[in-house]
């Protein structure tokens, strides 16, 4: 009855072309994992930083999992969105990061990418916003066919996760 607590926050994001950002996040775990409590997906507020490059969200994450196996260790997938001055939202980046498997506090940085459309898309994006998005967000963490995408790197999302493992040692998993 190994248990895993993931407690932490999505601190914020840096390095994106625009500063007014928000983030949609979700945790994906394998079939052996069972969520006992907590929300496994969510969305942060839009932060419009007045100073500095970083958009701060400080969005809490609090999950409690139990598992019967190590396969499919939870991973966090993120979508960073930009809200422009007209209130329209536009995708700015996808990224995913594995939840650390060692207990303790971890400061993580998740780099993000964004699909790059054809030149028409890019032109349209420049003038009217919008842009290509993945049809199914599973691709963020499964990545079977990702090599066929044209992507462009975006900024990084900073996270702070505290991982608490419980009873993993009973099953021979040393932490």
């Amino acid at each position: 009855m190994a248990e895993l607590h993931i407690i932490g926050q999505i601190i914020g994001a840096t390095g994106f072309p625009q500063k007014s950002l928000f983030c949609k996040w979700g945790v994906h775990a394998g079939g052996a994992w069972r969520l006992l409590s907590g929300l496994k997906e969510g969305q942060t507020q839009v932060d419009i930083p007045q100073t500095g490059d970083m958009a701060y969200w400080s969005h809490p994450i609090d999950l409690h999992y139990t598992t019967k196996g190590l396969q499919g260790w939870p991973k966090l997938h993120l979508q960073v969105w930009h809200q422009d001055s007209f209130g329209r939202c536009q995708l700015y980046g996808y990224g995913y990061i594995h939840v650390p498997s060692s207990p303790g506090q971890h400061r993580l940085q998740c780099v993000t990418w964004r699909p790059l459309g054809s030149w028409q898309d890019q032109l349209a994006e420049m003038f009217v916003g919008g842009g290509p998005q993945l049809r199914s967000s599973d691709l963020i963490y499964s990545g079977a066919d990702r090599y066929r995408l044209h992507t462009v790197g975006m900024g990084t999302v900073e996270l702070e996760l505290c991982v608490i493992l419980r009873h993993f040692d009973r099953y021979g998993v040393e932490s």
């Binding site: 009855m1 052996a32 019967k68 054809s118 898309d121 290509p132 049809r135 066929r148």
Partner: protein
């Protein structure tokens, strides 16, 4: 002169240019730069200065000259005088500066005339400076002469000639030539350049470099020390392959506009066999993986060659046959089969012929023996034939040698005879024959037996047919006359065809058999006693030397000697290497013995060996042999040589002895018996994978699909039979082994046999399922069941699922053992109860079913709501104070200036508290009871004056003073002169098990003005708005009359002590649900107290006209009233109704219109409720007018008062009010009202005001009244629905839940605000200035008072009703009602006894029976006062008792509310020692299962 000038000009210009190069910035043509210019002129150009002063310059130059002269003087002896020198130099140099100066002047003049003056000044200055120098110079002349040798040296300008310079440069510098470097110099001596590309190795394309550059580089490098190391084996500079790719590695993806994401699009490919998919061996990327194929070409033997002589042909044939013989002998099939036959015979005889199985086995054995024997016979025959033909060919060969008189081949055949023991041999032979014969006999016998039995069966059939025919014929004769026609048909049918008479089989002839066997044996076998012939071929025979041969033969031999052979090795159709060419020997054998190591990159597809024959310089390909690619297990060293047969269909003819190829030739002299032979032979080679240094096979992994590339020696056994994939399936393999009857003794099958034995014993279970996450199961920590069993996890999960029982679980223990199983008991019980209907709580099954259905609807709605609850809007998350607008601000400022009116206090808005920061004890319920009106007064017991007198007296003493103050007004009415208070009421408020009461006041119109504070605790400590909304507690406000009885026993003590017993008599009550208070945040007003129709001992007669002011108002209504103010402290934010949009079947336009209408209405009059769309029980939005439709009330009700429509209406209203009320905002926790249609409502028998109102309205409509639905606000219900009718020129407002009706101008009408009216075809919103019914007009035709939804702009689209056509009422069974009645009575009695644990409860049977008779009358009268008569009746019966009691009237839903109602009256609290109780219950059935319950409860105290 002009020419000179021009030249000077140009010179000056060039000079200027030079200057500008030196300092270009100073040349800018601006005033600012002028200064710079002049300074420059002065400082940096000494020439110019010299121009200014020629003498100075001349002197300088002279100084130089003097120096040089001094030097010369040293070199030569002769010295010119100073004068001479001076003259010489001045003469020479003077005119030049003069000219220059003029030129300068001229050029300058044009450029800068302004500068002139300035410059002139400077020049003069310069001259001033120079002046002393000039003077000095004349003195210095001598000094110069002396010091010239000391300081100065005059030298000629150094110049080296061009050619000399080149020469010198050539010594130091090296210029590489551009000519190509000869290859020899680039490589070490005696090394031929090696081109890797030609060797079949991949060499990348070199980057393009200009040839001259390359040559220069090569030349330069070669000059360096160790220059050669830069060159590769091929003599070129070592270079990496060109890194530049021709095309972009990321070619642009073109996709259509709608297919944005290429990653998600599948590319359809046909199911084609891809040829080049596995061209490269997997794992070639890593350096360890180099694979090597060793091709060993050992040699070649021609079985026929065009240069064969006739003898050669025969010899080859002989050799071939001999080879065959040898292999046959080696295999020794005959012996093997013979052994097998004998073995099987032996085992057959061993078997006991008992059981069915062994019988079958024997049959199988027989079959096998026969089969094996046949095989053996064939083999024997072959052996014998081979031996014969060997001998024949040898004879022919010998004949040929004799004929041509020379020998070409060294073959010699010896035939060895091996003697055998004749007797034994014969014995064996005989035995064998006998065995075979006997077997054949047995077989024949068996066959005969089978045939016999067959014959018998057929014979039997034939006989029976015969018999039948005979019988039939007899019958036919009898019946022929009667039914000829039918008979005919029948006969034809029955007889059918006549079966043949079977012939008995012949007996087999055994003697014949033996002869046959013997004949066969003689044909194919060695005769007994005959010696065994063993041929032996040797190559030791001499060959006739060339000289002794005839010409033709000699030519042939010459030709043979000319021939040479070599073999090319082709790998994947690419030539990788070739053998050395070897000459063809006389014996037509070529030995190569070469091994080629092929380092391979590509997956091997084919390995070919091409045999080439060269005659002189011309080569021709003889043939091509394909060598199979070896299995990866075939390694060098262990791989056997394979002989590949080849042949060629070339036609070759010769004019010498060579027989040629593809042309007919003959051995016979006469040219008959021609035969045609084609070039053929055997190539001996071996292809295998090399073994690396550390014994690692350099073979690619065998998992690579071979693509059907099986090596030649691989036997196509099991794999061919069941397919390669079948090898993994042990079952299949086993099946195949069983079917094909593998010989377990065959060493070839040993491995399979072993495998099968392992499998059958070990029983490897192959799972018959597909698993998505492989290896998940294997690595699981624990099973699912274990995980499920964990109580803690279950608790956590249920909590996060917000299951009601666990929703408010704050802390979950961290240890498993701390979670007890009890936690889940309630939950599991509830789950189980889902199916079981509790028949105790619900009286009849129908109601239980309805309750269950309701529960299910509730759950689904709640689930839906829970989902909707998680959708937050901004105001849910962010609490933001609204910025006050200018208008509000201005108004507030204006208010500051207002005069203060301390005597008119107004309520301040309290701050609202959000639910999050609340805990137990924070919330209090404030109930302010202001005053009461028309409380029933006690009725004196007129008939029994002593009793009343006594009681009266007992009151007087302690309360004389206060009572006397009131009595002046009231006392006069009482018949008795005594000061008896009319009533001493107090109010008791009970809420959530806490009970508080006011002080006791006096009189029927008391004024308490007391505030009662009741604590409130939310269920499970959850103070969220949803939880608060679902609080189902009610505030009970009961009015009691307090009676004091003197219980002093001893008259003497009366002076000193007071012993009184307080009795309380319930007068009436008000119920206000908490949810109403919560949603309205405060309740303020005068409410009608629901009083029982009969109050024994009290009268409702008004104290006539005493309090003048109120009379006018009160006279309009009846009953008791109570002024209340109820609120919650602190004020809570009521939850919002659900924002979720429900799906709808209404038109889009209608929905938008209704939204606009509602928005507009709430904008103008935010306090007036407006309703256009409602949600039906299925959760769909429905336009509200669809609910209004005339529906028939039960006929019984209409028949009750056929003459009085008013009465009928009241009866109908009463009927509607009897349907139990269930506020759905409580059950559907803040979800919003769910409207059910009338039939649903009557089926469920539960609903809130809307359903009641709709039903009542529909009834009224069907009764021909003009009726509307009122959506308004009433107290205490809050937003609710009433019914408005228009009859006899006045409007009546009906409260559907109570059945009461009020006139429009009734002050005590609970309806406070009217928002809108709804009829079946329109909705009108109230836009009048006032919303109270008293002050408004109900004329909906006036558009300035009522705003209609459907107007001319948006006409009614003709909405159909959702209501049914008509209602069907079931007649309620009287018996059911009686049964229910009994049960309620029983339950109530038990309860009352339970509530009085310390006192005995006695029942007065006499009173009970009286009450029972009375209750039906009450029902009949519709609850109207029949009290007087009844009271008198009771009084006469129970004269000696003091009775207090009342009937309670309730609609029936469940028993629990009845019990509560009884309990709240507090009748059971009477503690007089001699009290007796009376309880009677009456249930009156109405159509449609509507039940009216009457409970009459009374306490009787003996007057004695």
């Amino acid at each position: 002169m002009t020419e000179k000038l021009r030249a000077a000009k140009s010179k000056a210009a060039s000079l200027l240019e030079q200057e500008s190069i030196i300092e270009p910035a100073s040349r800018l043509q601006s005033l600012r730069d002028r200064d710079t210019l002049t300074r420059f002129d002065r400082d940096t150009d000494p020439d110019l200065q010299a121009d200014e002063d020629s003498s100075f310059a001349a002197r300088l130059k002279f100084r130089d000259a003097a120096r040089r002269a001094a030097k010369d003087k040293r070199a030569e002896a002769g010295l010119p005088t100073a004068e001479e020198a001076y003259n010489f130099f001045t003469f020479n140099f003077d005119p030049e500066p003069q000219q220059q100066r003029r030129k300068k002047r001229q050029s300058r003049r044009r450029e800068a005339e302004l500068e002139r003056e300035h410059e002139g000044e400077e020049e003069s200055e310069a001259r001033d400076e120079d002046a002393p120098l000039v003077r000095d110079e004349e003195e210095d002349l001598f000094i110069i002469d002396q010091s010239a040798q000391d300081f100065l040296e005059v030298r000629r300008a150094e110049y080296i000639g061009y050619s000399r310079r080149l020469q010198r440069e050539r010594e130091t510098l090296f210029v590489p030539s551009m000519r190509p470097v000869p290859a020899s110099s680039k490589l070490p001596e005696n090394v031929r350049p090696r081109y890797l590309e030609e060797e079949g190795l991949y060499v990348g394309e070199r980057p393009h470099v200009c040839l001259t550059n390359q040559n220069i580089l090569e030349n330069r490098i070669l000059k360096q020390a160790e220059g050669r190391k830069w060159f590769g084996d091929d003599g070129c500079i070592i270079a990496l392959p060109d890194p530049i790719k021709e095309s972009s590695s990321r070619p642009p993806l073109f996709h259509l506009e709608d297919e944005l994401d290429p990653a998600l699009q599948a590319v359809y490919r046909k199911a084609l066999k891809t040829k080049h998919v596995n061209l490269y061996i997997a794992g070639m990327g890593d350096p360890q993986a180099d694979y090597q194929l060793d091709v060993d070409v050992s040699g070649l033997i021609f079985s026929h060659h065009p240069l064969f002589s006739r003898e050669h042909v025969l010899a080859a044939r002989l050799a071939q046959m001999y080879d065959q013989h040898l292999t046959r002998q080696h295999k020794n099939l005959t012996r093997l089969l013979t052994d097998k036959v004998t073995q099987k015979c032996a085992s057959k005889t061993k078997l006991p012929a008992l059981s069915q199985v062994t019988q079958q086995r024997i049959a199988e054995y027989k079959h096998e023996v026969r089969h094996t024997r046949q095989l053996r016979d064939v083999e024997q025959e072959k052996d014998r034939a081979l031996l014969k033909s060997i001998i024949r060919v040898w004879k022919e060969l010998k004949a040929l040698r004799d004929f041509q008189r020379f020998t070409n081949t060294p073959f010699k055949l010896f035939i060895r005879r091996e003697k055998v023991d004749g007797e034994q041999d014969e014995q064996e032979f005989e035995n064998d024959i006998m065995a075979e014969v006997s077997e054949l006999e047995a077989e024949a016998e068996e066959d005969y037996q089978r045939k016999m039995s067959e014959y018998r069966r057929q014979h039997e059939e034939w006989k029976s047919w015969k018999r039948k025919q005979k019988a039939l014929k007899k019958k036919q004769k009898k019946k022929r006359q009667q039914e000829e026609e039918e008979e005919d048909e029948e006969r034809e049918e029955e007889l059918g065809e006549e079966p043949e008479k079977p012939e008995p089989p012949e007996k087999p002839d055994t003697g014949d058999l033996e002869e046959q066997v013997r004949e066969k044996a003689a044909r194919i076998r060695r005769k007994p006693g005959e010696p065994v012939l063993i041929p032996e071929l040797t190559v030791s025979g001499p060959i006739t030397p060339n000289e002794q041969c005839p010409r033709a033969e000699f030519a042939r031999r010459e030709d043979v000697a000319k021939r040479a052979l070599f073999i090319k090795v082709l790998y994947n159709d690419k030539e990788v290497s070739r053998t050395d060419s070897r000459t063809l020997n006389m014996d037509f054998r070529v030995h190569f013995g070469q091994i080629f190591n092929l380092k391979i990159v590509n997956w091997p597809e084919s390995i070919k060996l091409q045999v080439f024959e060269s005659v002189g310089s011309s080569t021709s390909q003889l043939t091509e042999v394909c060598v199979p690619v070896p299995e990866s297990s075939v390694l060098t060293g262990s791989a056997p040589f394979e002989e590949m047969e080849f042949s060629s269909n070339q036609r070759v003819t010769f004019n010498h002895e060579g027989v040629g190829s593809g042309v007919p030739f003959s051995f016979e002299a006469d040219g008959t018996n021609t035969q045609t032979l084609l070039t053929s032979g055997k190539l001996s080679c071996c292809v295998s994978w090399a073994v690396g240094e550390d014994d690692v096979p350099l073979a690619p992994p065998s998992s690579q699909p071979g693509g059907g590339m099986y090596s030649g020696h691989r036997q196509m056994d099991a794999i061919a039979c069941i397919g390669a994939s079948g090898l993994n399936d042990m079952k299949k393999l086993g099946k195949w082994a069983a079917e094909s009857r593998l010989d377990p003794n065959d060493p070839n099958n040993a491995s399979i046999m072993q495998l099968l034995s392992v499998v059958s014993s070990g029983d490897v279970a192959v799972p018959e399922y597909f698993r998505l996450e492989q290896l998940q199961e294997e690595f699981n920590f624990l099973s699912d069941e274990e995980l499920q069993r964990s109580r803690r996890f279950r608790l956590l999960r249920l909590r996060s699922q917000e299951v009601p029982e666990f929703r408010h679980f704050k802390c979950v223990p961290s240890m498993e053992r701390e979670v007890s199983e009890k936690v889940f008991q309630d939950y599991e019980k509830r789950l189980k109860e889902g199916e079981i209907i509790d028949t105790k709580e619900h009286i009849d099954a129908h109601r239980a079913l309805v309750a269950k259905y309701l529960q299910r609807v509730r759950e689904s709605v709640i689930n839906r709501f829970l989902i909707a609850k998680h959708h937050f809007i901004l105001s849910d998350v962010v609490s933001e104070d609204e910025v006050p607008s200018i208008g509000v601000l201005g108004w507030n400022l204006f208010k500051l200036a207002e005069p203060k009116r301390p005597l008119k206090p107004c309520r301040k808005e309290r701050k609202k508290v959000t639910a999050q920061n609340l805990s137990d004890g924070d919330i209090k319920l404030l109930v302010n009871i202001v005053r009461g009106y028309d409380i029933p007064i006690r009725r004196p017991y007129a008939s029994k004056p002593p009793a009343s007198a006594k009681s009266g007296r007992s009151f007087t003493e302690p309360f004389t003073a206060p009572v006397s103050s009131q009595t002046p007004q009231q006392g006069s009415e009482w018949p008795f002169g005594q000061v008896t208070p009319l009533v001493r009421p107090f109010v008791e408020v009970s809420f959530q098990r806490s009970v508080l009461q006011t002080s006791t006041a006096e009189g029927p119109n008391p004024c308490w003005n007391e505030e009662i504070v009741l604590p409130f605790s939310a269920p499970n400590g959850d103070y969220s708005s949803t939880s608060l909304q679902s609080v189902r507690d009610e505030v009970f406000i009961n009015i009691f009359d307090e009676l004091l009885y003197d219980v002093v026993e001893d008259e003497r003590e009366r002076g000193n002590t007071i012993h009184t017993r307080i009795e309380r008599h319930w007068l009436g009550s008000i119920k206000i649900p908490f949810s109403t208070i919560y949603l309205q945040s405060r309740i303020d007003g005068t409410f009608k107290v629901s009083t029982p129709p009969v109050l024994l001992g009290y009268s409702k007669e008004r104290s006539l006209g005493s309090e003048g002011g109120y009379d006018a108002v009160r006279s309009l209504s009846e009953g008791t009233f109570l002024s209340l103010f109820i609120t919650i402290e602190p004020q809570l934010v009521p939850g919002d109704t659900v924002r979720e949009k429900f799906d709808s079947q209404e038109g889009e336009r209608l929905l938008i219109a209704s939204e606009v209408f509602e928005k507009e209405a709430s904008g103008r009059f935010p306090k007036r409720p407006c309703l256009t769309t409602v949600i039906d029980i299925n959760g769909k939005t429905v336009f509200v007018t669809r609910f209004i439709r005339p529906l028939n009330p039960p006929q019984e009700l209409l028949d009750a008062f056929p003459n009085s429509p008013q009465e009928t209406a009241e009866v109908v209203a009463r009927y509607v009010s009897l349907v139990p009320s269930l506020p759905d905002s409580v059950s559907f926790a803040g979800v919003c009202d769910l409207w059910s249609t009338c039939d649903q409502f009557l089926t469920l028998l539960a609903g809130d005001e809307e359903e009641h109102a709709v039903l009542l309205c529909n009834y009224f409509l069907s009764m021909g009244k003009r009726a509307w639905l009122i959506i308004g606000i009433a107290i205490p219900e809050g937003p609710t629905a009433y019914v408005l009718t228009y009859e006899q020129n006045r409007y009546l407002i009906w409260n559907p839940s109570t059945g009461q009706h009020y006139g429009q101008y009734d002050t005590f009408c609970p309806l406070q605000t009217i928002g809108c009216l709804i009829s079946s075809d329109n909705v009108w919103f109230n836009i009048q200035p006032y919303a109270a019914p008293v002050r408004m007009s109900f004329d909906v035709s006036k558009p300035n008072l009522w705003k209609a939804f459907f107007s001319r702009a948006f006409p009614d689209p003709g909405l159909s009703s959702v209501q049914p056509e008509g209602l069907v009422y079931r007649h309620t069974d009287r018996a059911v009602a009686v049964e229910l009645q009994d049960r309620i009575e029983k339950v109530l009695r038990e309860k009352i006894m339970e509530w009085r644990p310390r006192h005995p409860t006695r029942w007065n049977r006499y009173c009970i029976s009286t009450l029972r008779q009375f209750l039906p009358k009450l029902e009949l009268s519709g609850g109207r006062e029949v009290a007087e008569e009844h009271r008198l009746e009771l009084q006469s019966l129970l004269g000696e008792y003091r009775i207090s009691g009342f009937p309670l009237h309730l609609p029936f839903s469940e028993i629990r509310p009845i019990i509560e109602a009884v309990h709240s009256t507090g009748v059971h609290k009477v503690e007089a020692p001699n009290v007796e109780f009376a309880l009677a219950v009456y249930v009156h059935p109405y159509p449609g299962n509507v039940l009216s319950v009457w409970v009459y409860i009374a306490s009787l105290v003996s007057a004695h």
